[in-house]
Symmetry: C3
Subunit: 268 residues, 3 copies
């Protein structure tokens, strides 16, 4: 398989975001809406929080990408997300699934299974979430809810990618991306990011934006991780704590320079 | 028609906000709630996010002003907003309509038409939104969804003001306000504001607060634009990017001095 | 009655938060979710915004504490909150009730009465809210909705604590805590905090976290007030206005040192 873009050139994707300003529809949780929208705006994309059942599918057909985050789902939102995902697929638009805390309750497992059946282009979660989802997809017996080592998550990501057809992103101290055959890791980011709510959800939104401008999902997912991770590193170096980190993160996303970004990327 | 307050004295309205601390009810979208509430608090007003059908009309009768933003509407919220708008009118309280992305889906056009029929005191939107709304109000054939030039939007604002009876605000590089006869423009603001989510929605909330303390809607709308625009300019001059801009915007709204404000106002 | 921890040692509770990282479930309002979640993360706790009827009780049984905030309730959320509160009680987990603007509408009074009947461990509100709630609990005729002096609220807090069995926190210029017999006041905080939306709601979330690691509710409530108040004082001293205060508040919560905290506590 030939990649359309070198994975060590995230600047190409960032430049495309700024030039094309893709419209990204987000069906996301109440906590994440603000940071997700501001993350998209900071890189030049155009966020739209559209989740009402009366309009979600209609909008998905005109948006450049869709992201679905299961953090605070309500019954009619799940139906709305399914309809939007199907409309995105029908319009050949990419979409990203973020199965927040999927292992915590039966309702979350059920919602995630329904959305996984709508064939997401990318799935992004932490190690526990991807392990649980790999189980739900039939690739193994039963998902584990507990915190698990990244080794196990890498294998789960590969199985999930194979069974679902999605590129799978596992975020953690080291981020892993798998399309079922290839595995690439990204070492950019900073541990203080775990003290900001919705920092993973905002990355999901950014991944949607990158998918809109880079046709190879594996590359788009890696570039989203790199853009976000490099901005996080720079923001953390200027921050006293999580309050200033959040503001600095958006500033650094806005200020990223192409050459700096490519040199700062740490992909293995 | 005689204005009760000189349009070049936004300081009078700002002082009234701080002295009277008007209670502003907001039925707004999930992304905007935080910035809208913090904008109101920064200028001395008291925000209340009250949208449940069981209480929205009851509350509208005791609030000093109401704002309705159609960004993330659900079916029962639309009914709630209609009831609140009618209660506000009955209690002779001003209310503001913000038709977010009204051209994007049929659901949004339908919601906007329903609320426009409840006779808002002020309508605030960008050029595309005001063009679409002018079409829905019967002033022209069919609203345009695409980005349009400000010339066309100024005419649409005038027609919408005449057909609806509302003062109409079109925000953009230059902001325009029309009551159907008079047109005034405000040149304050900064383009980095377009990189903060809900910056328009927060202006809508501030417009509601100004209407509560200044009885002439045209003047209240202009003073909201000026207060917000001058604070935005000062905030932008201290900011590295959109993350710091958002924090600085609230600081500058809080710190605005009367004389500085009047001198900084650029109305034409 | 013997207290398990000295009330003038908030550092013990802060250390426990950082070491144990309690999982705190929050059914809170749309405006408060972001600041509440970030406040919990800043002190080392783990926030979960879980309010769907399909999962709220299931989750409450695994969370270390629950907080319920009535700021923007919908009908099915009220049922969800009742179920979660009952599940928390059944699992012997503490829970906190925050009756936002309970005096404003009949719907709010009704919701608050329903939740108060589910025996919260702690109730936190401002003077008007606690006065109203004391009336709803049968301790007096009818709650007052207007702003009232702190003297009257202290008496109302005592009566509410006696009739409900909860520890009652009244926040204001001086914060008061009562368990029905004992009254303790905390003088830490800063008046600029009243210009940040959801600052009281975030304190409610922090109180839930403290209850998860300190078994004496009176002490946990006081330590939450002290931790939050000392961080607020330090944040305010570095801030130009409410925008920077919000970021600095989270930084200071993250940076608090044990010894400094105990010395800064002003309890009477």
């Amino acid at each position: 398989m030939t990649l359309t873009t070198a994975i060590d050139r995230p600047s190409k994707t960032l430049r495309a975001l700024r030039e094309q300003g893709p419209l990204v529809q987000n069906i996301t949780n109440f906590v994440a809406m603000d940071l997700a929208a501001n993350t998209l705006l900071a890189v030049g994309a155009s966020p739209a929080m559209v989740h009402a059942p009366q309009e979600s599918a209609e909008f998905a057909a005109i948006a450049d990408a869709l992201t679905v985050n299961l953090g605070t789902m309500e019954a009619h939102w799940v139906e709305s997300a399914e309809a939007a995902a199907r409309a995105a697929i029908a319009a050949r638009r990419p979409w990203v699934l973020d199965p927040v805390a999927v292992g915590a309750t039966g309702y979350r497992r059920s919602n995630a299974a329904r959305l996984l059946a709508c064939r997401p282009t990318v799935v992004r979660g932490n190690a526990s979430e991807i392990m649980t989802l790999a189980g739900l997809s039939g690739a193994e017996g039963k998902g584990a809810d507990s915190t698990v080592g990244s080794e196990a998550a890498v294998e789960a990501a590969q199985r999930l990618a194979q069974s679902s057809g999605a590129v799978v992103v596992v975020t953690g101290a080291l981020d892993h991306v798998s399309d079922g055959m290839r595995q690439v890791a990204c070492a950019n980011s900073h541990k203080l990011m775990t003290r900001i709510t919705a920092s993973g959800c905002a990355l999901t939104a950014l991944t949607g934006a990158c998918l809109a401008v880079e046709e190879e999902p594996l590359v788009a997912a890696l570039h989203a991780l790199t853009i976000y991770g490099v901005a996080a590193e720079r923001a953390a170096s200027r921050s006293r704590g999580p309050g200033s980190l959040r503001a600095n993160l958006l500033d650094e996303l806005y200020l990223l320079e192409d050459d700096d970004l490519d040199q700062a990327a740490r992909l293995t």
